[in-house]
């Protein structure tokens, strides 16, 4: 009952973005995916959700291949995601943004909805109830009839997560959910995500906010140059010299960076003196 990557690879021409990653994600846990920029974290998320194709290897959920499916079929296998740059349906209301997620379940009854009003209102009521529950959980119930595009940024982030959660996904993929949020909003987000740690859900979070990752995640995977560098609990990750190396570079690198910075300051100083 897991999500499994087997020798997963993504290649753009000669550039290898994901280099034979093999790992598995246990349900009921929140997995953090961290690493420096360009390490391939978002690529992994995008491949799992079907936004990017897989060059070789496979992705399987409960033994069922995901990588051969189309994007909407992956979503129908109850894999939900958010995006690094928020992608809501801007000119639809907050409520409609969630309601539309019931399309796969309800589309068969479309004609019945059109010609038989009592059926339509019953369906709509049912959808609305579920949506309002999740809106209340994210403290968005007051915005139900507002256009999603006119929400403040932080609320938009919450709504996108709400949209991913409304159909109770088996796999929840969050691509930098805290990007652009202030401290207060990040704390709220952390608490809400922790509350959504349900037994059979696999949550994968890509995030740069280490505070959030360390507090929230049960298992952390560190990526570096498209490879899996380290996997362990937050405490293990913090103690690992490999991870520190990937993030901060070697001692030599640091000396080089310092020297370059000093150089630049010296040049600026010269220019400033000339001007005066």
């Amino acid at each position: 009952m897991t999500l499994v990557f087997d020798k997963l690879r993504k290649q753009y021409g000669q550039v290898v973005a994901i280099d034979d990653v093999t790992t598995s994600f246990a349900p009921g846990l929140i997995h953090g995916l961290i690493g420096p920029n360009g390490a391939g974290k978002s690529t992994l998320i995008n491949m799992t959700a079907g936004s990017y194709s897989v060059s070789s290897g496979s992705i399987a959920l409960d033994g069922k291949r995901l990588d051969t499916l189309k994007k909407y079929q992956i979503a129908n296998s109850r894999v939900a995601r958010t995006y690094q740059n928020i992608r809501l349906f801007d000119q639809m209301t907050v409520l409609e943004n969630l309601e539309v997620c019931f399309y796969p379940a309800d589309v068969g009854g479309t004609w019945k909805e059109v010609v038989w009003p009592p059926y339509a209102s019953a369906r709509r009521e049912k959808r609305r109830e579920k949506c309002m529950d999740i809106l209340r959980f994210f403290d968005l119930q007051g915005y139900a009839e507002t256009d999603a595009g006119s929400l403040p940024y932080g609320r938009q982030r919450m709504l996108e997560i709400a949209r991913a959660l409304v159909c109770e996904p088996r796999v929840l993929l969050l691509d930098e959910p805290a990007a652009g949020l202030n401290h207060h909003e990040t704390a709220e987000l952390t608490a809400r995500l922790a509350a959504q740690r349900v037994p059979d859900r696999i949550t994968i979070v890509v995030e740069h906010d280490m505070d959030l990752v360390m507090k929230l995640c049960d298992n952390i995977i560190v990526m570096h140059h498209g490879k899996l560098l380290f996997q362990g609990t937050p405490a293990e990750v913090q103690a690992s010299p490999d991870v520190q190396l990937a993030y901060l570079g070697t001692a030599n690198d640091i000396d080089e960076i310092r020297a370059a910075a000093q150089d630049r300051r010296a040049q600026l100083g010269i220019r400033a003196r000339r001007r005066s």
């Binding site: 959700a49 079907g50 936004s51 189309k70 994007k71 909407y72 979503a75 129908n76 939900a80 995601r81 995006y83 992608r87 809501l88 349906f89 801007d90 000119q91 639809m92 409609e96 309601e99 539309v100 997620c101 019931f102 399309y103 796969p104 309800d106 589309v107 009854g109 479309t110 909805e113 059109v114 010609v115 009003p117 339509a120 369906r123 709509r124 959808r127 949209r163 159909c167």
Partner: protein, 331 residues
């Protein structure tokens, strides 16, 4: 502040008054129709046909966000379905009610036929391909002399009759069209509010994110094309029956553009907007008939003015039929 801005503004009193006024004028117009001279009834009939066409095309343009410039092709399919099945051309004389489902099915099939190759296209590219499609259908009709009579068209179409009642005078078609527009309007409005309508909106807003929440965009788009084409085709069949003559001249690119204009000026994605847009684009030329050579200039200026003042259309998307009903009869 323009009429519709006032309509949607916070002041409920003036808004309600204007809603009532517009509503009363519409009812009065409908009630007065049987007593108007034939000429005016014909004008109103053509208004109703364009509203019907607008309701159909709006599904693809307004709800699903796909710019279709070849809509007139479906109108032609419907018109020629009637012309071929109820005229001396093939010596077939089917009853109107038997032709209607045939025209609807042919329309839907043509809609899907157009839909499949353009599934991957959006925006300008889609507009160009659909424009080409509309022209292809027109040129085929123009050149298929043995079947369609070519540029001469098909004349002496049968008089339509529905369940033994003859539908021949302009006023008969007025009632037929009014009922069709009301039925199509209500059905399409309910369709917009159904789960499929929400999926269309999601595709319009962000197709990729729509796939990401499990919407099979291929099927949803084909459904939009098919429904839209069905309505266009039904409008065509009624048009043919009322003119009792069809020729390729009625199905030029200009017609497609006119319907798109109605939607854009009236209020994209809103059935009430289509009524407003059609009213302006169809009735104004009649009102300005005396200034014959200035007509087009007036119309052009008015369009520019409206697009500047009301970029979302005369009746914006947010003021749908449900809001109108609530404003008229609700609290």
């Amino acid at each position: 502040m323009s009429v519709a801005e006032t309509l949607t503004a916070a002041k409920p009193h003036s808004g309600r008054a204007i809603s009532f006024l517009v509503f009363a004028i519409a009812i009065a117009l409908i009630a007065a129709s049987p007593f108007l001279p034939n000429y005016y009834v014909r004008v109103i009939n053509s208004l109703l046909i364009y509203i019907l066409l607008g309701i159909g095309l709006n599904i693809v343009i307004g709800y699903t966000g796909l710019l279709d410039l070849g809509f007139v092709a479906f109108y032609a399919v419907g018109a020629y379905s009637y012309a071929l099945l109820a005229s001396p051309q093939l010596d077939l004389h089917w009853p109107f009610l038997a032709i209607l489902p045939v025209a609807a099915c042919l329309g839907a099939a043509t809609g899907i036929l157009l839909g499949i190759p353009v599934l991957r296209l959006r925006g300008d590219y889609l507009a160009i391909v659909t424009l080409g499609f509309g022209e292809i259908i027109r040129i085929i009709i123009n050149n298929l002399d043995w079947l369609t009579g070519g540029p001469k068209g098909i004349a002496r179409l049968d008089k339509a009759s529905i369940l033994g009642i003859q539908v021949a005078r302009p006023i008969d078609f007025f009632w037929l069209l009014l009922i069709t527009v009301l039925v199509a309007g209500v059905l399409v409005w309910r369709l917009e509010r159904s789960i499929l309508g929400k999926a269309w909106a999601a595709i319009r807003e962000d197709q990729d994110a729509a796939r990401g929440i499990g919407i099979n965009t291929t099927n949803a788009k084909l459904a939009a094309f098919a429904t839209s084409a069905t309505i266009g085709s039904i409008a065509g069949a009624i048009f043919a029956a009322s003119q009792r003559f069809v020729s390729p001249e009625s199905f030029t690119l200009q017609e497609s553009v006119l319907i798109v204009l109605m939607i854009v000026i009236g209020g994209i994605g809103n059935i009430l907007g289509i009524v407003a847009g059609a009213a302006i684009l169809m009735l104004l030329p009649e009102v300005l008939r005396e200034f014959a050579e200035w007509r087009i200039l007036f119309l052009g200026l008015l369009m520019i003015f409206l697009i500047i003042v009301r970029p979302a259309g005369i009746v914006p998307r947010s003021f749908g039929p449900d809001k109108l009903i609530r404003r008229l009869f609700g609290k």
